[in-house]
Amino acid sequence: MQDQTITITIDEQGHSTLDLEGFAGRSCEKVFEDFRGGDTVKIERKKPAYYTDQQAQREKSQR
């Protein structure tokens, strides 16, 4: 299983960028909300891995 890492980059202009790796589905959303911390989101993008990891998890649970 891929390592789950969270990288947050905070700049001097009052913006922060959040990168989540190795997460899928609901766990991804929970971690994203934790680190958003009530801030206003300007951009939010799900990467292809979000869906492929979710699919893999579904297949694993069906086995």
Partner: protein, 138 residues
């Protein structure tokens, strides 16, 4: 990578704002009820704030700088317009937001069981960035 997002830091939690201002070398006053701020120009309208840095701590400033609690819970900057030209404008506020966000993130991560793996300060053309890397406790 699973998800990517860019957020604008909202100052809402007094504790982290006060900690951020202290780290910048100020001794902010904290008031549950907003109190008047002092201004160099007496004819200017009286402003009130909940968190105040007095002018004597702000080199070159015309007045106190404060943060006032808004009905939606945000703490917004209250300052003389002129002080934006004295080093207390967007760049100054951005630094406050940066320190605030770092302190808030570290406290939240500690409370929710995330593990801090790395902290880096990176110099860019746009200024310093702070990069925090966390792992999930298994």
């Amino acid at each position: 990578m699973s998800k990517y997002g860019v957020s604008i830091t909202e100052l809402k939690e007094e504790k982290y704002l006060v900690d951020a201002l202290r780290e910048m070398g100020y001794r902010p006053e904290v008031h549950h009820e907003a109190v008047p701020m002092n201004s160099y120009y007496s004819e200017q309208e009286a402003k009130q704030a909940n968190i105040i840095i007095r002018r004597h701590e702000l080199r070159g400033a015309c007045g106190d700088i404060g943060f006032a609690r808004q009905p939606d819970g945000r703490l917004t900057l209250i300052a003389e317009e002129l002080d934006a030209y004295h080093g207390y404008g967007e760049k100054w506020l951005g630094r406050v937001q940066q320190l605030y966000k770092e302190k808030q993130t570290l406290a939240m991560a500690r409370a929710k069981g995330y593990i801090l793996k790395k902290r880096e300060a990176i110099q860019t053309k746009e200024g310093q960035q702070v990069r925090l890397q966390f792992a999930v406790r298994r």
